[in-house]
Amino acid sequence: MDEFVLEVRDLSICFYSGRKEIPAVENLSFNISKGETLGIVGESGSGKTVTSLSIMQLIPNPPGKITGGEMIFGSLDLLKADDDIIRQIRGNNISMIFQEPMTSLNPVYTIGEQLSEVFSTHQKLSKKESMKRSLEMLKQVKIPLAEKRMKQYPHELSGGMRQRVMIAMALACMPEILIADEPTTALDVTIQSQILHLIREMKEKMNTAVILITHNMGVVAEMADNVMVMYCGRALEYADVRTLFKEPKHPYTIGLLNSIPRIKGGRRKLYAIKGSVPVPGEVTAGCRFNSRCEDVFEKCRIEEPPFFEVGASKVRCWKYEGKGVTV
């Protein structure tokens, strides 16, 4: 398990707007091992999606630019690799499922044509062979009437079905890493649980590492092994899923967990984190969360905290200074 499939070190990504430089992700580091599901949670603007796009080297440049860091995949640094090599890896070794399955499927090609393209591009199979493999793949993701679906266009399919096609496409080449960016946000709850179940099943079958990006804490609790909480382009807390939910450490994580209405238990006033996420580019000195934190003190406003290792979690908060080892 200790063999990491992907190691991200000190990743920084910037967006340029006019002359302004807006950092989207700063000094982000994380690892993922084979068969692990890493949940990345955070609110809009926290840099979750940018992070995942950067792994695929899909950041639009300009305006975006990866300004620093390393991304070790096998023996390769993805950030330094040639476009040709990236193109071979993308969709083959690392693939991605997006939030909106309608916009990520090509409306003018049939499902069969799009799916078989993966096989003909990456595995250089013949057209007939590709079609055959595509059909098998559709059956694996449990699409009913797979033969008929092959000849249909994306608009003829329901949202859940489209997401299944996306999953089939992403898993077609048995990638080492699957990045799922809000895979169920656009779907209804009953369909959501179908899709999550499918992702889990496929992951176990292929021993794929999954990076699951979501804002839904419930989804994380059910799917992830380890969780990274992001806020304003920073990781604030990193822990295994049980520790994170049982003993959240960072005030932001605690607030986030408390602000979710629970099904169990009586009605209470919901906890609300005051204020709103700062506008990117207007981030002040010190800890990113200091403007909304209830436990804020002098040091938080001056200096940004490093990670402290407290128990099983790593947390970026001055509260834990002296209580744990600096990482």
Binding site: E43, V189, L196, H197, V241, R262, I263, S276
Partner: protein, 321 residues
């Protein structure tokens, strides 16, 4: 107060769909197909269901904002569907609507201040200085500072925009507000702020809410009673605790079991529904849910179930009862 502020009886909304080849062949999408419910004063009724089940259509039909095929919507003793324009305008002062997308529902060319004032102007409430004063009160009520009045919607964050929309709905002192997915587009930390705001306002002004949402945990938190919709029908309605403890309809059970729980140790036996919701243009015969129901029997394919009363206002439409 006792009694119901709103009574909906056998409401039907059907959208005509013209045939592609032969335009005369009109079929109907039965978005809302015979639903009845009541809402008491200062109560919150939650309306949940998946996309396409007719939740939003119900909300709009209740405000008489779309053509209703049949049924009655009785608001404080008057049938709204039979009211003329002038009467409607008066009634609408008591009924307001909050939409999901706060950007789409605010005029981008108007400042928040003038948006709020327009409402008062349209309803002839006070002269210019009184209106100004009222606008200041309103913005304060929803927790925004007065500086925001001269700003345009694009300068606001999602949560602030939703606050502005709530202020606008409150401008005419309504008794009844339909909240159509008011927090679905917001981040979790902002979502709880808005929910708390809605609850505070309800207490201070004795408001009645029809709260439409697809997120069951939010609905459970805010509602006293919950109605579950599936393909244009209310399949179950009950007190919210009762519904979560003793869900009767197989669809409600499946819906409840598919909510992701924020507890990694919690592993439940999930009821995974097969397939998707059928098209409302051509709903299955008999019970609408039989195509996905694990308990479906012969009778479910043939006959539409009638509403069964399980006591304490718990109604369910299913042949099992």
């Amino acid at each position: 107060m006792i009694g119901n502020i709103l009574e909906v009886k056998d409401l039907k909304v059907h959208f005509p769909v013209k045939g592609e080849l032969i335009p005369k062949n009109v079929s109907y999408v039965k978005a809302v197909d015979g639903i009845s419910f009541n809402i008491g004063y200062a109560e919150t009724l939650g309306l949940v269901g998946e996309s396409g089940c007719g939740k939003s259509t119900t909300g709009r039909a209740v405000l008489n904002m779309m053509k209703v095929n049949s049924g009655q919507v009785i608001f404080e003793g008057r049938d709204i569907l039979k009211s003329n324009r002038n009467e409607l305008k008066k009634i609408r002062k008591d009924m307001q609507l909050i939409f999901q997308d706060p950007f789409g529902s605010l005029n981008p060319r108007m400042t928040i201040g003038s948006t709020l004032e327009e409402v008062l102007y349209v309803h002839h409430l006070g002269d210019k200085s009184q209106r100004q004063k009222k606008v200041n009160e309103l913005i304060d009520m929803v927790g925004l500072s007065k500086d925001y009045l001269s700003r345009y919607p694009h300068e606001f964050s999602g949560g602030q925009r939703q606050r502005a929309v709530i202020a606008r709905a409150l401008a005419v002192k309504p008794k009844f507000i339909i909240c159509d997915e008011p927090v679905s587009a917001l981040d979790v930390s902002i979502q709880s702020q808005i929910i708390n705001l809605l609850e505070e306002l309800q207490r201070s002004f004795n408001l009645t809410y029809l709260f439409i949402a697809h997120d069951l945990s939010v609905v459970k938190h805010i509602s006293s009673r919950i109605a579950v919709m599936y393909l244009g029908r209310i399949v179950e309605i009950a007190e919210s605790d009762e519904l979560f403890k003793r869900a009767a309809h197989p669809y409600t059970k499946a819906l409840l079991s598919s909510i992701p729980v924020c507890d990694p140790d919690f592993r439940k036996d999930r009821i995974l529904l097969e397939g998707d919701m059928p098209s409302p243009a051509n709903p299955p015969k008999g019970c609408r849910f039989h195509t996905r129901c694990i308990y479906a029997k012969e009778i479910c394919l043939m006959k539409e179930p009638v509403s069964a009363n399980l006591g304490n206002g718990h109604m369910v439409e299913c042949h099992l009862y």
